[in-house]
């Protein structure tokens, strides 16, 4: 177990260095000039050149990367070009909003996705199953921006039950998290249904029923637990995606999370912010993957890492 952990940590570090190099190089080879984006359209070329020099972008790329790596090890991700503040601070300010939205959406996904999936599998071929399928198809096919705007118009403008947008408390969280959860909920519901159906056909389920276990116990303790492994993988990946920011949902609901921040930073070629966000999300991904791998051993005692 310990050697597994060490090996995985080593791999993770290599992955992160690779990500940083890739992000660094890609940002600098795509067309677009940070100073030109910062200055108004009517700025002369001399001003653009001068600002690029001030931002340190006239150094050779390997020199820039060296400076960057050295500062990162000290926890300094550089100054955001747009905000003129430490990039790490700019990004970290967005973390609470991002985490709130991701967790709320994840909670909805797990609760509703699994319930709908279980119900559809257990009552296979009935109205519940068809309703679940319809919901799942809708959830996966309705585009986020459309769903978000419809929810705003219905619950914010017409019924006035919930605020249309903003970031001030749990009431503000409802519509964005429902919008964001629609797709993963549908995914989890379908996955739960199919894996549960497969497992319900297994012999040990028949054995369970034969020895007189209640249906509830068969489904929840035996079948669902075995269906949990693929689910966990999908949910883990979804958490990573959600924590990286949900661009469209954040834009629609004016939610101050990381997704909109990074997209704006890419548009305006704010290299330090893009680098910080991507390295942070890569770190989150790597950590979550590691945790999920370890969770497998808890869920399924047959899985052992050596």
């Amino acid at each position: 177990m310990r050697s597994f952990l060490l090996r995985r940590l080593g791999q993770s570090a290599t992955t992160l260095v690779g990500v940083s190099l890739l992000v660094f190089v890609i940002l600098r080879v795509i067309p677009g000039d940070p100073a030109k984006m910062l200055l108004p359209e009517g700025a002369p070329q001399s001003a653009i050149d001068a600002l690029n020099r001030e931002l340190g972008l006239r150094e050779p790329m390997w020199v820039q990367y060296g400076i960057f790596l050295r500062s990162v090890t000290r926890g300094d991700f550089g100054q955001s070009f747009q905000y003129r503040a430490p990039a790490l601070r700019v990004v970290v300010e967005r973390v609470p909003a991002t985490i709130q939205l991701a967790l709320a959406a994840m909670l909805l996904t797990v609760v509703f996705g699994v319930s709908i999936g279980v119900l559809a599998a257990v009552r296979r071929g009935t109205g519940y199953d068809y309703a679940g399928t319809v919901l799942a198809v809708l959830g996966q096919s309705l585009p986020n921006f459309w769903l978000g705007i419809m929810l705003i118009l219905l619950f914010g403008v017409t019924l006035r039950w919930l605020p249309t947008s903003g970031f001030q408390g749990w009431r503000y969280l409802v519509l964005p998290s429902v919008t964001l959860a629609a797709f993963p909920t549908a995914l989890v519901a379908r996955l739960t249904r199919s894996s549960l159906l497969e497992i319900l056909g297994q012999e040990y389920i028949r054995t369970g029923r034969a020895k007189g276990l209640g249906e509830r116990s068969v489904i929840l303790r035996h079948a669902l637990r075995n269906a949990a492994i693929p689910l966990l993988t999908v949910i883990g990946l979804q958490i990573g995606t959600l924590l990286g920011g949900a661009v469209i949902t954040e834009s629609i609901f004016a939610w101050p999370g990381m997704g909109k921040l990074v997209v704006d930073a890419i548009f305006f070629r704010d290299f330090p912010v893009v680098q910080t966000v991507l390295i942070l999300s890569a770190t989150i991904f790597v950590v979550i993957n590691l945790v999920i791998d370890l969770l497998y051993t808890v869920l399924d005692p047959r899985i052992r890492y050596g």
Binding site: I30, P31, G32, D33, K36, M37, L38, L39, P40, E41, G42, A43, P44, Q45, S46, A47, A50, L51, E54, L55, Q82, Y83, R84, A85, V90, E93, R94, A97, I149, I152, L153, G156, V157, R160, P163, T164, S165, G166, F167, S251, I252, F253, A254, P256, G257, K260, L261, D264, F267, F268, R269
Partner: protein
Amino acid sequence: MPKPSFDRRQFLVGGGAALGAAMVGPGVARAQGRRGEIIAGLSERMLTLDPANHYSISATSVLRHVYDPLLDVTNDDKFVPALAETWRPVNNTTWRFTLRKGVSFHDGSPFTADSVVFTLKRVRDNGKLIKSFVYQDIEDVQKDGDYAVTVTTKRPFGSLPAHLTMLGMLPPSVAGGEEAFFQKPVGTGPFRFVSWIHGDRVELAANPKYWKPGIPKVEKVTVRFIPELSTRAAALRAGEIHVIDRVWPDMVQTLKGTPGVKVLDTPALEAQRWHFQLARETVKDPRVRKAISLAIDRNVIIKDLLLGYARPVVNPVPPGLIGHSNLGQKPYDPEKARQLLKQAGQSNLAIDFVLMKDLYPKQLEIAQAVAAMLGEVGIKVNIRNLEIATAREQRTAGNYDLFFSGWAHMPHDPDWYFGQWFTKAGAEKMTRFADPKVEQLIAEGRVPDAKVRQQKYEEIERILWEDEPEIWPYYSVAIYAISDKLRNFEARRDYYVLLHEVSIA
């Protein structure tokens, strides 16, 4: 135990009075009738609290409440005193400003000539500041006592007062502690800065000691940043906010149909201008440019695509600005366009029309309509809708024939536009425009004398109107929507949302 001895009516009256007192705060405010809160929803997110470090319209709007500039400009383009009481040119390269007395910053320190000297030297000398390049012509800033300042410039700088409407004055104490200062800045403006949640909102509270009597009218202003127009409009319709900017024409009907919502529009200080790449063989010939201009039916764009929310162009510079004159609308004449193309020997012309993605309302539809119109006279248009940074790189590299763009005259003065786009130094990495005669007129038009400027600019405009280095399809219209509870809100031609003289019912 006896019951409390007031009835429901008394309770409500008492509670209302207590609530009212809590809302209006100190007695001074009540005396001036200051009450309530206005919440605005702006389209563009603010990135800085430093008035010298942006040319963003939303930051200009927000920061105008916190800082005062030396001059203000009214919606009908008149320059009026703010922190400067008077300003006059001493000669072509010297401006003298006399300052308002008895003004203090929100921290109590007095506003004096030192603030002006500091603010101007800072923006000139710190090359990292976005506005720095505009102030490079300043030679020196000298104070003359505590309430007068003389600015000398390296060359005539007639538009200096106009630029100064956009530069908030800072206390000299900023020096040395800029980062800390801009965490919680103080200005002399009608509102004090309270808080800023990046990407979400800025909160401001009334400055009870503001130098302009009776201003501001409300206790609190909150500016929320809501980039999506549908969401901005929904928040207004739901009664959560009181004013939104940047409404698109196709949203107007929905908003007009909502009870309690009013739509206001005004011709903006923005001319759409699609510039040609003048070094390219395709459009180098003025006959070809003229043919393209003749083949575009501007009225169709204005009426059908922008639903009337645009105005026909009669001069490269919009009405109201110095230099504007009526040169008449450009005609639509496809037959003549065909003849000109024939004369120019261009039978199979194909041009690249580059757009900066999602920047202007309806731009893609407009470009497609233009492509169809030019198709009628035998010009093939290749629309390239590129991400903004890429489009601007392509322009620098010269890889376009026609570039979709607009110019908002934010300082209410056309000198910047002319100096950037029609001088060799400004245009070399842009349109490659070069005309020694125009260049000379622009230099001559930089003097402070308004009559000279008007005359030089009219001459420049006549040359440009004839030569057509750009297509000027329409002047934009600024559309706002507000709650009918707002009083005295002015739909600004420069797209600013200014709330210090606005009250709420």
